[in-house]
Every structure is written in structure tokens, then in C-alpha cells.
């Protein structure tokens, strides 16, 4: 879900640099910086948090039309991780991520909407356990600074969203594990900002 970082930065760049008509840039989303966290509540008393260690993504910026910014992220469900080994085996099992049958989860953005300064809404579809559902994410720019390379910009985003796991057929243990899952994604975008492109 590095996707959102990309989306947000892309939007900024588009808004703040001179767009070149018809130019699009595609960036590979780098998973080295950032993480995808999901959090569930137990009885309202405490919560558990897990992450996905492996994911890949692409960010496509249409400089002429920021709303056409595209973010595609593919998550390797087998890379699900939690502090507790027993929970990892459980999360990989058929009642949860069912990683043997569904090794990938995908997010595909449908549109990116600037909300207010440094805040963006990312609408898209999440495919998880073979079920596709709409998902709305909110990206906030935390920091933006020049990178080491000339013209490079690095931006850090935090992206949040909420989904109901039951919508994806993940209905196990509803008495103990909340249906509501909070997503929190930390993402870094590194773009060669405003590089001329034909």
C-alpha cells in the first residue's frame, strides 16, 4: 500500500509543478521504506496489530489530469506478520487470509481526490480472498523534502482506512476479533520531480 504515498505525492507534484500536457510517468513503488499495518480490536479491551512484509506497486502520474493518477499495489498475503508466531499460522489459514488459495491481495485505485492541503482521498477496489470491494483511503502528507539526487523529492505519507473483514468473507471468531479492521500505511515516495517527459 505504498500506493497512497505515491498517489498523494503525485498529486502534489502535479499541482505544484508545471504540467506537461499528455505526459505520464510510472514509478515502481519501493517497499523498503514504509509498512502496511492492520489492527483489530478484542472485546474493546485491547487490540492486535499485524503487517505485510512484501508488496509491490506502481504509481502512474498523469500530469495533465491529476485525477487520473493511478495506484496499483499487490500484496503477498503469505508475508503477513505478527509479533506472535501462533497468530501468523492462524492468519495464513483458510478462515483468515487463506494464503494457499489467495496468495495475493490487490488494491487498484479508481480516483485520487485532493481534499485539503496535504490531504488526499484515494478511492479504489481491494481484492482480498477473491472478493473485490470498494475501499476508501485517506492519505496525509507528513513531510516533504529534497532527496539526495538533484531534483528528487522525498515525501512521507501516512494513509489510513477502515474495512470490514466480513465483507471479504473473513468471518472467523467474530466474538473475539472485531469485524472492523483499521489500516495504517506508512509510505515514502521518491520522485524525480518534474523531470521533462515527452
Amino acid at each position: 500500500m505504498r500506493w497512497m504515498r505515491g498517489a498523494a505525492l503525485a498529486t502534489i507534484i502535479m499541482l505544484e509543478t508545471a504540467p506537461i500536457a499528455g505526459a505520464t510517468e510510472t514509478y515502481a513503488i519501493d517497499q523498503r521504506f514504509g509498512d502496511i499495518l492492520f489492527k483489530v480490536s478484542h472485546l474493546g479491551l485491547f487490540s492486535s496489530e499485524g503487517t505485510f512484509r512484501r508488496f509491490t506497486g506502481r504509481l502512474t502520474i498523469d500530469e495533465a489530469e491529476p485525477r487520473n493518477t493511478r495506484i496499483n499495489v499487490m500484496i503477498d498475503t503469505d508475508s503477513v506478520a505478527m509479533g506472535w508466531a501462533g497468530a501468523v499460522a492462524m492468519l495464513r489459514s483458510p478462515p483468515y487470509f487463506d494464503v494457499t488459495r489467495y496468495p495475493d491481495a490487490r488494491f487498484t485505485s479508481t480516483r485520487v481526490i485532493p481534499e485539503r492541503t496535504d490531504h488526499y482521498e484515494i478511492d479504489g477496489d481491494l481484492e482480498l480472498r477473491g472478493v473485490t470491494q470498494a475501499l476508501v483511503l485517506h492519505a496525509a502528507l507528513l513531510d516533504r523534502r529534497p532527496g539526495t539526487a538533484a531534483g528528487e523529492t522525498i515525501a512521507d505519507f501516512v494513509v489510513t482506512g477502515v474495512l470490514r473483514r466480513s465483507a471479504f468473507g473473513m468471518t472467523a471468531d467474530p466474538s473475539f476479533i472485531s469485524d472492523r479492521v483499521n489500516l495504517r500505511i506508512h509510505a515514502r515516495v521518491r520522485l524525480e520531480a518534474a523531470a521533462p517527459h515527452e
Binding site: 509479533g83 506472535w84 501462533g86 497468530a87 476479533i177
Partner: protein, 186 residues
Amino acid sequence: MSDPAPPGWSRLQRRLHWWTAGLILAGFALAWVMVAVPLDALLAKFLLYQAHKTIGLTVLALVLWRLLLRARRPRPAWDVDWPRWQVRAAETGHAALYVFALAVPVLGYFVAATAPAQVPTLFLFVIPVPHLLGADESAFKALREAHRAAAILLVLLAAGHAGMAVWHHRAGRTTLRRMWRASASP
């Protein structure tokens, strides 16, 4: 101690003794059940663990209370016909019971505190008990083994203690009776 030895255990001491014994056995039995409950019954597993933790913390409090009572009031006199070595052995056994009855819950608390799963400790299922240590997998594994070994030793000690009490009882002594009732003349 300068106080004369009282004729028997106080009512509070007797009650605390049996509550401690019952709770230790219940906590021990519960431990094997809660560990065996599969992860697809998470709520049951969670509740069993919280019951186990509640029992452990209660045992810890009761044992501290008993030690306080012992410090304030001497124990009843040993039977006069006991050889000295037997009194020594009994005293050592009782001291070990106290040490393990304290150590097992304390170790258990640290097992819970260092567990990677980071499940809170809720006394009586609702009162959060702060964890003084954070998750630490290697400490957790070592503590869990120590907790388990100490618990098994505690139950073996308690079984030996009960066996000795029954043995003395069958020999016609008041050892068991005076822990059960106030007046325990032979």
C-alpha cells in the same frame, strides 16, 4: 519468638491455607486446558488465560497475607514426639512451599508481560494490571519454562505436604485436624 505458641491456627489462617491450596490446584489444572484450547476458539482461550492470571495474582496476594499473619503470630507448637530432623524437614518443606507459591505467580506475571502476543492481564477479567516489561521473545521463552517448572515443583511439594499431613493424621496426630477445625485435641 517470645510469644507463647498458640494452641492452633487462627480461623483466618486456616481459611487462607485452604483457599491457597484450592486456587493453586485450580490454576495448575487450568494451565493445561488453556494451552490446549485451539486458536479457533480465541474467546474461550482468552477467558481461560484471564482466569488463570486472576487465580495466580490472587494466590500471590493470599500467600503474602499468610506470611504477614505468620510474622505476627507464631505457629502452633510442633508435636512433642517429633524427632528434631523431622521438624527441620517440615520447616524446610513449608518454607519451600511459600517460596514457590510466591515465585510461580511472579514468574507467570513476567511471562504474560514479555509475551510476544501482548495480551493484557485483566484481574477478574476487567481490572488491567500494568506490565512492567515489554514483549521480549527470548525472555518470554525462558520465563515460560521457569514458570512451568516452578509450578510443577510447587504442586509436587504440595502433594508431598498433603501426603505427610495424611500420614501424621493416620498416626493419630492433630496435624491435619487442627488445620481443618479450631479445636483439635487428639
